[in-house]
């Protein structure tokens, strides 16, 4: 089931790191939006994802299509992972609690690499 796969992606009870690859695989078949680093945004059905987080979308629609006639005749596309800025997924497709728990767990397991140090606030009195 989608939830079992998601659990596996999230590392289960162990200290395994979060696998974005596995997480995206649970979204295959769903509608997602991808925003690229050249500011182009595309929506479509997630067809496949790979280890580089390259994404293949089918039934693509370009957001703000009038601005980009270059992409008008494009039905399916392969988007290189390195050029993706955001992937937007419908909240209904994701168990946000499971994700939050995993993030919390991962922070707990590796506090030194994840901790952010904040400087003591400077107090200045005029």
């Amino acid at each position: 089931t989608g939830h079992e796969e998601a659990s596996r992606a999230l590392g289960g009870a162990g200290m395994a790191t979060f696998q974005f690859n596995s997480f995206f695989k649970t979204l295959i078949g769903k509608e997602i939006a991808v925003e690229l680093k050249n500011d182009v945004a595309l929506t479509g059905t997630l067809h496949s994802v790979d280890q580089y987080l390259n994404i293949k979308l089918t039934d693509v629609q370009v957001v703000d299509a009038d601005r980009f006639p270059q992409l008008a005749a494009m039905k399916n596309c392969f988007i290189r992972g390195s050029v993706i800025r955001y992937v937007q997924i419908p909240a209904a497709e994701v168990d946000t609690e499971l994700l939050q728990d995993a993030a919390r767990q991962q922070t707990k397991d590796a506090p030194s690499s994840n901790a952010t140090t904040t400087a003591a606030p400077a107090t200045a009195s005029a």
């Binding site: 270059q70 290189r80 050029v83």
Partner: protein, 96 residues
């Protein structure tokens, strides 16, 4: 590579490069870094002041580092477009 380019081999594709160019050609080959071999390709230069210019390139290898999107060109839709009347801003370059 589960998200494979295998289905696109020997098909006409449109490539958007990191510098915002649009190159159309026949995909002959690829590798894991998405380097591409493109046959009979041409660049489509879009401008806001003139129709689309097509510059014939021939047989090209495009390095994967430089590639943003590889799209399957729907030739039915593409053949209906009159590129000489299309006016558009060129695509922005990719900024990391």
């Amino acid at each position: 590579m589960a998200a494979s380019l295998d289905q696109l081999v020997n098909k006409v594709i449109t490539v958007v490069t990191n510098d915002g160019r649009n190159i159309v050609g026949n995909l002959r080959g690829y590798d894991q870094t998405t380097n591409l071999i493109l046959d009979d390709c041409h660049e489509r230069v879009f401008s806001t002041t003139a129709g689309v210019q097509q510059e014939v390139l021939g047989l090209y290898i495009i390095r994967g580092d430089n590639i943003a999107i590889i799209g399957e060109l729907d030739q039915d839709v593409d053949s209906q477009a009159d590129l000489s009347v299309v006016r558009a801003e060129p695509l922005k370059p990719v900024t990391h």
